[in-house]
Structures are given as structure tokens and as C-alpha cells.
């Protein structure tokens, strides 16, 4: 299934860095996010977009992850040539990530 089925997401911007939250709709899916939505997978998913590194922060109290991606916004929001200079649409792209769910996870 797609990540979109179990999580919602929002993108924020600061300079040339984008952050994307991934928040489980239900707490029971948080372990699935922890296991499968890794920094490495996020970086691979955004091939051609993220030029820097992807760092993941974990927030178990709200069943959420926060991905901070450097070198992502075309040199910075205020000077980028991109149509979506803020990278606001990136969160929707991340929700397209494929998640493997076992019977107990649904």
C-alpha cells in the first residue's frame, strides 16, 4: 500500500532546507513508519531533488517523523528558479512511497 493510506504530511521551508513531517493517522502504525520510512528511502525517493542529506527526527508522543532535507530548494526559497520555490508540494510526493504491510499492521 501507499504511505498515504496510513499517514499525512506537511512540508515547511527554511532557506535551502525543506522539512517534511510524516504523521501516522493511528498510533498503531507508528512502528511501521519507524521501520520503513527511513532517511535512506526518503533520499532515494527524492532522487534529483535532494542534493544534501536527509536527517530523520522521531516524535513518538505524536506518532510522527520529521525529515530535514538540505540542498533541496534550488539554492534557497528567495532565489530559486523552481515553480514551487518553497517545495510545498513535496509532502504529497512522499505519500506515494510504497509501504509493505503484514496482516497485523492493517
Amino acid at each position: 500500500m501507499k504511505l498515504r493510506e496510513i499517514a499525512h504530511s506537511r512540508t515547511g521551508d527554511k532557506g535551502n532546507t525543506s522539512n517534511i513531517s510524516v504523521i501516522a493517522y493511528h498510533e498503531k502504525h507508528y512502528p511501521l513508519l519507524l521501520r520503513q520510512v527511513t532517511s535512506e528511502r526518503v533520499k532515494a525517493h527524492f532522487a534529483g531533488v535532494v542534493e544534501g542529506e536527509v536527517v530523520r527526527y522521531e516524535l513518538p508522543n505524536i506518532a510522527a517523523l520529521n525529515f530535514v532535507m538540505t540542498g533541496t530548494l534550488g539554492g534557497g526559497v528567495t532565489r530559486s528558479l523552481a515553480l514551487d520555490a518553497h517545495g510545498k508540494s513535496l509532502s504529497s510526493a512522499l505519500l506515494d512511497l510504497e509501504i509493505e504491510a503484514s496482516a497485523g499492521d492493517k
Binding site: G12, K14, T17, N19, I23, V77, T78, K88
Partner: protein, 449 residues
């Protein structure tokens, strides 16, 4: 008895809707109304406006917003806090006092917080720029402005001095909300945990509709009622830091645990270190709990000692950008769009357009996330070609759009709706200024004496 205040958030950016703020003032039961209207580079653009006319340089919607809310705020005793001063808080305060007089609100007292303009201090220190190699003096005559993110203390001081309206320039966005809490509850400026939890409240409220269902709806997954009448949020804060996020009953949108969680992490990097002028806030232990419809309790914000520096936003002329667009539709649209991009790429090379960076997009295909992420997309009915480039001067920037426009008569079949632009780019970088080099002050305007 525990004291509680209700703070409304009347704008999440400079161009935001105006009626939700009026609705908050009329029906929100609020004591404070905050307008966050100053984007990252807006203060640099405002500085350019002030250089042309010394009376200007404040938010262009100041008059419209003030005329809309001052009468009701004055009659209910609601205090206004805003960063609409931009590059000229005193000019904005004078203008607001003038508007108040014209509305017959003769006793309205307006305060300006000044001192965020730290251009001279930054030049003297020749501070290093955080985003790229270089120092502030190396920007030479491209340097436009340097404004420190001030904390809540001078705004709280203005409220203590009896201000009905407090107008700042550059200040940290959460600090606009923290100031009323510090004023109302007498919080100590070294009570780091309270300042941290207050920062959580300010951060959640600062983007207005983004916590009541704006920037959130995704039909079938996250449905939000009545976005055309979106209600703006209210933070109910108690003197021990307890916080409930809510909105005006009957307004559009929703406040749920989901909307609050999304906004909590918005523009946050390390959640355990959200650096503010007044405190280093820690969001990592925050809990979010729905206690009633459109009422969400947010607890667990903490903080530690503030840093010795203030972040300074440096505005400078970075470059010029030229752009052109044209559309293709029907069978073969994608192939014609790709051909158009190849033609422009070749033309820019042949005619020697001096661009340091170029970008070739097909809107509807790969313009948002690039060719790799978009590779599996289906063929669209229509595509829009977009070519942008960075140049050193306006003349070169204009040539980029021209090469797209000439596709009309020289490019693939049936290209329509060409459009072009060329502009200078005012960009923003940051430096860290030792805190003691900024000296904010409060000045009062208007009010019966």
C-alpha cells in the same frame, strides 16, 4: 484562580484574508489579536520601498486591516500585536494613530518597537554569512538590509506601557504571541520551560488558517468543511502554560489533533532545539489531545536557556531571473513540449545568453519534482513549457523569455498562451549577531494625553 487569556491569530502572511480577523474580534472572545505579516524577504523589499519614499516601507495592507478591525477591537478592549511595521514601524504607528483619529478613536495608544534594523552593527562586525562563503561587507552595494529577529520583551514592554496596538518590524513570529503571555502573566524572562511552552503556542498560531484546516485538505483522505469561510485560530493560554487551540464556533474549517500535529512540525528542523530569541524551545515531548469538537489541548512544550546571539535576516540583490512559458495540447502535446524545450535550449546556446543557471520544465509533467521522481507519470492532455534562467543583469534575463515567445512562429505546431517575465531577485541570507549589539526601543504615538 488560574488566569487565562485568549489570543486570536488574524493573519498568517501579508496577503492573508481579512474577514476572519474581524470575525475573531467580533465573536472570538479574545483579548489579543496578532497579525503575522512579515515574510522572510518582505522586510528587504520594504526597505527598498522606504528608500523611494521615507514615509512608506510598512505593510501595504496596514491601512485596510486596521480600518477593518480597529473599531471592534477598541470597543472590546482587544489589544493588537503585529509585525506590519516591516522596514518602518514608526511610520506604521503614525499611520495607525492617524487612522484611529479618523475613526473617532481618540484615546487609542499605538506603540512602535524599533531597533531591529542592525545594518550598521552588522557592517562593523563584518559578520560571516551562514548560507554561503563570504561576509556581509563582501556583498558590497548589493546589500539592502539587515534586520534582527527581536524577542518578545520590547513588545511586552509596550503592552505594559498601555499600548492598544503594538507594531514591530522584524521579530520572531512566535514572539508576537509570547509577548501578550509575558505581559498578562508576568512570566520571568528566564523561566525557560514556560517560555518554551509559550513558544509552542505561538508557533502553532503564527500561520493562522494552517492550523484550522488550511494547507491540509486532501479529498477522500482529509476532508475539511467550508474552506471558503475558514475560521482563524484562537489560543487559550493559562498562566501555567496550559494551552487549548480552538476557533470561532460556526466558522469554516476544523481544529483536530491532526491539524495541530502538522502545524507543530511546520518549518521545524530538530524538534528538541527550536531556537528563538527568548528561549531554545523543545517540542520533542509535546502531546496533543482532542478534548471537545474543535478544541485540542497541547502540552509538554519545554525550553532551555536562550543563546547569546540573534539571527539576522540579510536582504541583498542576488541576481536577475528571466522566464518564458508556452502551452501545447491535444495528441502529441508532450512530444511538442519536449521539442520546444530542446529548441530553446539550443537557441540560448547559439545566441550566447549569459546565464549561470538554467531550468527546463514541462508543467503538468515534471516541473515540481524533476524528471526522475515524475518518470512513471501518464501522458497528459496538455503541457506548459517553462524555461527559467539566472543572469547578472536585466538585459540578459529578458532574452530568456524572448526565446520562449518566439516559439509562436518558429517552434512546434500550435503553441499558445506564451508569457514572459524578467525581474531582479532580492534574496535573503542570515548572520548571527551578538545579542548585546541590538538595542530595541519602544515609542508611543497617538492617544489622549
Amino acid at each position: 484562580m488560574m488566569r487565562t487569556i485568549r489570543i486570536g491569530s488574524g493573519a498568517g502572511y501579508s496577503g492573508d484574508r481579512i474577514e476572519p480577523a474581524v470575525e475573531l474580534a467580533e465573536k472570538g472572545g479574545i483579548q489579543y489579536l496578532v497579525f503575522e505579516c512579515l515574510g522572510e524577504r518582505t522586510v528587504a523589499l520594504a526597505q527598498q520601498a522606504r528608500m523611494k519614499n521615507p514615509e512608506l516601507g510598512y505593510d501595504p495592507l496596514l491601512e485596510e486591516r486596521m480600518r477593518a478591525v480597529l473599531p471592534v477591537c477598541a470597543s472590546k478592549g482587544i489589544k493588537i500585536v503585529t509585525n506590519m511595521g516591516a522596514a518602518n514601524p514608526e511610520g506604521a504607528a503614525r499611520k495607525t494613530a492617524e487612522i484611529a483619529r479618523s475613526l473617532g478613536l481618540l484615546s487609542l495608544k499605538v506603540a512602535a518597537v524599533i531597533g531591529d534594523d542592525v545594518l550598521d552593527a552588522c557592517k562593523q562586525g563584518d559578520l560571516p554569512i551562514m548560507e554561503f562563503d563570504g561576509t556581509i561587507t563582501q556583498l558590497g552595494n548589493r546589500l539592502l538590509s539587515a534586520n534582527a529577529y527581536l524577542g518578545a520583551e520590547p513588545m511586552a514592554q509596550a503592552l505594559r506601557g498601555g499600548a492598544d496596538v503594538v507594531i514591530t518590524g522584524r521579530a520572531s513570529d512566535p514572539a508576537l504571541f509570547l509577548a501578550p503571555m509575558i505581559h498578562a502573566f508576568g512570566w520571568a524572562m528566564d523561566d525557560w520551560n514556560l517560555l518554551g511552552q509559550g513558544t509552542v503556542a505561538g508557533h502553532l498560531l503564527e500561520c493562522a488558517g494552517q492550523i484550522t484546516g488550511g494547507y491540509f485538505a486532501d479529498p477522500g483522505y482529509k476532508d475539511i468543511p467550508d474552506l471558503a469561510r475558514l475560521g482563524f485560530p484562537i489560543g487559550e493560554v493559562s498562566e501555567d502554560g496550559a494551552l487549548v487551540i480552538t476557533k470561532v464556533q460556526g466558522s469554516g474549517g476544523v481544529v483536530t489533533a491532526q491539524t495541530c500535529k502538522e502545524q507543530l512540525l511546520y518549518e521545524v528542523h530538530d524538534p528538541s532545539q527550536y531556537i528563538q530569541p527568548d528561549v531554545v524551545a523543545d517540542f520533542s515531548q509535546v502531546r496533543v489531545e482532542e478534548i471537545a469538537p474543535d478544541r485540542v489541548r497541547v502540552s509538554g512544550g519545554r525550553g532551555s536557556k536562550r543563546t547569546g546571539t540573534l539571527k539576522v535576516s540579510v536582504g541583498y540583490v542576488d541576481s536577475f531571473i528571466g522566464e518564458g512559458q508556452i502551452s501545447y495540447a491535444g495528441p502529441g502535446a508532450l512530444a511538442r513540449g519536449k521539442l520546444a524545450l530542446e529548441i530553446v535550449r539550443e537557441r540560448l546556446r547559439l545566441t550566447g545568453v549569459a546565464a549561470s543557471e538554467l531550468r527546463f520544465d514541462l508543467i503538468g509533467v515534471d516541473s515540481l519534482h524533476g524528471a526522475q521522481v515524475s518518470a512513471h507519470a501518464n501522458e497528459p492532455y496538455e503541457v506548459r513549457v517553462r524555461v527559467t534562467g539566472r543572469t547578472e543583469n536585466l538585459r540578459e534575463a529578458i532574452r530568456i523569455g524572448n526565446e520562449v515567445e518566439t516559439l509562436y512562429t518558429n517552434g512546434p505546431a500550435a503553441g499558445g498562451g506564451a508569457w514572459k517575465s524578467a525581474r531582479d531577485v532580492v534574496a535573503v541570507a542570515s548572520v548571527l549577531l551578538p545579542r548585546e549589539l541590538a538595542s530595541p526601543q519602544v515609542r508611543f504615538f497617538g492617544g489622549a494625553t
